[in-house]
Symmetry: C2
Subunit: 661 residues, 2 copies
Amino acid sequence: MNPDIMKERQNATFDVEKLTNILDGGPEKTKRRREIETLVFNDPDFEEEDPNFLSRSERYDQAVRKSARMILKMREYGIGHPDEIYFFKKCVHPSRPEPLDLHLGMFLPTLLNQATPEQMDRFFMPAWNLNIIGTYAQTEMGHGTHLRGLETTATYDPATQEFVLNSPTFSSIKWWPGGLGKTSNCAIVIAQLYTQGNCHGLHAFIVPIRDFNTHEPLPGIVVGDIGPKFGYSEVDNGFLKLENIRIPRENMLMKHATVEPDGTYVKPPSSKLTYGTMVFIRSLIVGNSALFLAKSCTIAIRYSAVRHQSDFRPGEPEPQILDYQTQQYKLFPLLAMAYAFAFVGQYMNDTYNRITGDINQGDFTEMPELHALSAGLKAFTTWATNAAIEVCRMSCGGHGYSCSSALPDIYVGFTPSCTYEGENTVMMLQTARYLVKSYQQVKAGKQLSGIVSYLNEAEHWRVQPQPVAARPTVVDINDLASLVEVYKLRAAILVEMAAKNIQQELQRTKNQEDAWNNSAIDLVRASDAHCHYVVVKLFTDKLGEIGDTAVHSVLSTLALFYTLHGITQNSGDFLQAGLLSVPQVMLISVRIKELLSQLRPNAVALVDAFDIHDKSLNSVLGRYDGNVYEHLFEWARRSPLNSTEVHESFHKYLKPLRSKL
Amino acid sequence: MNPDIMKERQNATFDVEKLTNILDGGPEKTKRRREIETLVFNDPDFEEEDPNFLSRSERYDQAVRKSARMILKMREYGIGHPDEIYFFKKCVHPSRPEPLDLHLGMFLPTLLNQATPEQMDRFFMPAWNLNIIGTYAQTEMGHGTHLRGLETTATYDPATQEFVLNSPTFSSIKWWPGGLGKTSNCAIVIAQLYTQGNCHGLHAFIVPIRDFNTHEPLPGIVVGDIGPKFGYSEVDNGFLKLENIRIPRENMLMKHATVEPDGTYVKPPSSKLTYGTMVFIRSLIVGNSALFLAKSCTIAIRYSAVRHQSDFRPGEPEPQILDYQTQQYKLFPLLAMAYAFAFVGQYMNDTYNRITGDINQGDFTEMPELHALSAGLKAFTTWATNAAIEVCRMSCGGHGYSCSSALPDIYVGFTPSCTYEGENTVMMLQTARYLVKSYQQVKAGKQLSGIVSYLNEAEHWRVQPQPVAARPTVVDINDLASLVEVYKLRAAILVEMAAKNIQQELQRTKNQEDAWNNSAIDLVRASDAHCHYVVVKLFTDKLGEIGDTAVHSVLSTLALFYTLHGITQNSGDFLQAGLLSVPQVMLISVRIKELLSQLRPNAVALVDAFDIHDKSLNSVLGRYDGNVYEHLFEWARRSPLNSTEVHESFHKYLKPLRSKL
């Protein structure tokens, strides 16, 4: 063990294991997690070549190999609970997507939700046993966020009782579905349904795309990989062009809507249930933000503890870079954020599970609020994490740029979550729509409940043209509850500002859509403030659950730091609204520096508590033992360009050049 | 041509060619640039396979091939002026570094500056003719920014009149030099010189590392590639471990310092000249920020003009995404920034050339200021550009994540500039050191000149605990000169705050280094404000040079927009210092929305004016003709994973799996 990092661990003021248990949700869950890790990481069948040393095709190949084994082993070990499946997958493909993701995560669940019993009989078991490998083909080259714009058509032909599917334009080619390019032999295709001359909107169709034996594309099917991407090299995101593809009527998923043999269309009942899935996926994304952030902080903080640089005090040894105020100021806010997001993820997951119970009993009351909140929090946490990973990477200097740090891979693996499952700006506007609607309800005399209930107090806060001298004195910048109030008021004021802006625009443009679009900047700002308030509140609430004094103390410091740092980053908002005075903002800057020093001795212990296995981290800089330099050398020597001493390009180009000059 | 983008061009209010001329520095320069582009882009010898479709080794191979041809062709065409060489290289390897960069950019220039006439005779012509291919080996695995910490030793042995070079530890292994891994047969190695029992600090030594004929590493030399990186796949950044390597005394570069045959060390005279090189390189980096930003904006804005999405007005066609306020608010600030940085780059280059003239006449007066300024501006522009590229990429939705957009490649090619040639935080602190020193000189009664002369007025502005009601009324938020004043005062106030903080810390800690470190956050903030002021000022100054009314008008709008947007992003600073009032800040938000609408019709024309050749852009989304979708499909079909219909992994893993389930 590197002596610097050993000393860091000795200096910690709390029991790391206890904090790990809190993050896992209890000591039993920590234990079970480690059991699964041992199963995977000690299994020679799951050993892999560092993907950084492989070509795109080899990376895909290795991922398919591991996915095939993963399926066998999970059945062998009887791993069946969704949480455990999710975790097992995360060990086999650490922080990486894999070619069967859509088969397991979208194709099978969609069958479960939308197939009739007859369709279940025909498709489910073959899919369960990988005779059918499926994907979910929704997004098209020209259509992503706005689903109603999809162009793929499925036209019913009563003469043969078949649907005829077509991709009428370039922009209608299915584009992006994972596993579509090479892996799948079947796709659930989302298309505009036409029957008896009418369009009935989007429906799902099961379309075979490759021969089940030879795996060759079927006639009329143009399918392939969409080409190299920033990351996701393990996944064959694909394209699919349909040219007069005929499928039997029974291949439309008909649990809800149906097309009868003569072509009569029968509408589905209400579809409120689809809300739930989105909330669930977005809560996973929030948890995933916390995980990626935790990994990045682990790497950057451990490395900062073993890296020495510069002539801080002439004549003395070079200091650990973690002792630089600027380095602390880069990393500690992200460390605090990782904890904040971890607790937000727990809350969303718990709430989802609770509400799902209610829904099963027909009670949808809380769903719209959670749905709206999940959209904004998805955007808030992924944007913040996206930027944070890069701060971590760059805080490691040049070595952060090497793939050996793992940070490039972490970034490119994470950044799509700002776009998929709802593009972030669109998500922010969705939350804003809910906030403005809630605000208008208050104006109309309704009393709100839940997390937006602060809008009830609309009469008590007013947007002030100048700071109010009286109010700020009551804010105690060392008291979390008091600070949460301030964040709440900021959100309330920005929601009101956005709502009033829409009103003004409406008077000017006389057009609802233009008024909304011309207020979009304010709406996103209001959403952001709302989400920030929720995060600060949930972090603070979590402290109440923590019994251990030492852990409570360090987490309280982190929460206070997160909250105050957020104020300095948005000080304009707080000053503009008169929520804080200039002397308070200046005091907060001083307090933040004190908190940096206070957090410094626990920094390594706080990342250790994330308990991320070295094999899952796959980072030379982030190794638990801190022995960075010797392993950096060892890693470089293994890299493919060093398999020969002389690269062929010398003989091909450089040597011949000499004679020509 | 795509009809949307054609319409955009028709709507422009100014003559694009005139603006292009301004960016190039005159119509003749535009003409010459296009001549060189034609030479390269029409030459079949420079045709290449899209690097995104190649493995690391193939990318390196292709780059070596093109570099070898580049050298031949430049000599054939008689391209010899540094500006033209730089430009020719940029066409051959668009926005990509190449294996001979360090040979041409560091090895040859270092010989010119530091070799004796005898050494020039021995080394220069062989290097010019690529018999010697050299690199510059300074950075070590454990030592980057802090040069004095380098560990490589060169010990003089008078018995044989040789230096013995060693890498005594893992952390002393040379790490990162471009072209070191595979390409070079020789390196200028920076090492601690030991002779007659004393260490005389860092000196440069010419060390042969590979056999000139076979290219095999020489005995005692452990050399190779440092492995895959985030980007820079064309470059063999390398490692070098020296094990008792003996070189003749005459291989130390002795133009300045010398070691005599008996081992006597003779000191060099003053070394002020090295300043100049750093300033020059940093001014190139600022210009490079502008270029990368221009490329990213070109892609994102053209794509936003042809992409349609969402149900803005039910029943009407989907709008161009460029019509969304949020999209404009993402992209137009970056477009304005690209122009700002282009003009800052021009200014730095001009100033460097002017001052170099002075220096040749022995006048170093302006150098320290430009040196300090260049450090901060390098950090300011690269950080902003780094973040901006990613905003551009994500503003293209999913397709931005595809390598076909070129944005992933642009990002990974640019981001190292935040770290190399001076890590950004260190650069900011260097500028801060100059600012604080200047402030202290004013306090000591000295009158400053140049760009920091605003610190002379220290008595007129004071940090106010509360906003001053009197001052803000004089600020006219529509008047650039008035806004530049406000930025200047912000910088002055933050410099004073940082300087006072150091004083306070000094009283507490009694230690200069701790006081500095404990003020580092404030120092970086002050530097940032100073640089922001300089950028705003230079952008405004540039407007005075522009004669054409229509171009002047659109650039004035851009400059005003850049300036006001900067205020909203840092509104806390301006409110805290009492430089602007709350109503003013609110008015600025309104004004910004008006300016978005005003810029909208010229957005495409403003990126067209950058005049970036499609071959240089290499982006399907950013094509000049706007025909995105059909070319996206064509690009994907060419990708290597589609060279066969069935990937071998199906037969290896997926098909056999069926029988086991």
